[in-house]
Amino acid sequence: MNERYIEFSNDKLMELAKNNDLQAFKALVERNGKKAYLLALKLVGDPADAQDISQEAFIRVYNSRKRYDEKKPFFSWFYTILSNLAKNHLKKGKVRLRYRRRTRDEREAVGADFAVSPEYILESNRIKERVWKAIEKLPFEQKEIIVLRHFEDLSYEKIAESIGIPLGSVMSRLYYARKKLKEILGSESE
């Protein structure tokens, strides 16, 4: 990364990128690339798709840089773009998944768990895999709140800002997401 930009915050880099400073945008990408990839991975559950989505999110950030509001934190804005891309990707993917499920069902016994073991989890074990697969089964809105709170360790205020919902809704959504997660895990162990 260009040394000139090391000291700058993400917000400052985005402000410079808004004024067509491509090197500032490069610094922003280099600093946040891994974070964006891992966040996308948690939302879509596929490394190749996560790579595509994280890159596309940065491209959209650059293309719409003139609309960036300096008063708002960069992460919230970036997250909105990334999360919308992930949501759309999963919606489109449902058609593919339905087809895959059908062909798989033809080969495998009905009711067998067709989900691929998540190889992208470090030091994976049975409990972690079970919990992660249950998270993946949550509706997108519940999955994203679990990802932001449990994995990104964001405060309720930050989550509210990133998703664009009131603070009270963060807590209630988190509650229902955890409840649903508990139900999924409970039904699987029966």
């Binding site: 490069k26 990408v29 891992l38 890159q55 293309n63 972690k128 919990v131 709170r149 997660l181 508990k182």
Partner: protein, 138 residues
């Protein structure tokens, strides 16, 4: 939720402990949420190899550059096509060697094509306006 996330104040914790004493279902729910949280705290995700990150910016830059290239190419193509179409129509309709009937046929066919295109575009725009997932933005 604040207690599970360890964000509750001392008073809130005490109040919640009292509530749990009186409600075993609440206590059971709290324990299960806490267990889930403890497991998720240990889940880590594998990063991609360094070689991928070395080319990450270049990949984004290439895609940005190509996007700009396509915009210029499209504008150029539209200008050239409009220019070509204009001259073709002028030459065609002004030509004295082409029969009037052929000119009328081409004009009517062209008008039909325009109506069809307008109809399709209107339908696409209508479908987009009434799309179920229109709240999902790119």
């Amino acid at each position: 939720m604040k207690v599970v996330d360890e964000l509750a104040t001392g008073d809130e914790k005490r109040e919640f402990a009292e509530l749990m004493k009186a409600d075993s279902a609440l206590e059971e729910e709290y324990r299960s949420f806490k267990e889930i949280k403890e497991v998720t705290d240990t889940i880590m995700f594998k990063d991609l190899p360094d070689s991928y990150w070395e080319g990450y910016w270049q990949g984004i830059y290439n895609r940005l550059e190509r996007g700009i290239g396509w915009i210029f190419f499209s504008i150029g193509a539209i200008i050239l096509l409009a220019f070509g179409a204009y001259h073709f129509l002028i030459d065609f309709f002004m030509s004295e060697t082409i029969a009037l009937l052929v000119k009328i046929g081409v004009a009517v066919g062209g008008l039909g094509l325009i109506i069809l295109l307008v109809s399709i575009i209107r339908e696409v725009l209508y479908a987009r306006k009434h799309e179920r997932y229109k709240e999902v933005k790119y």
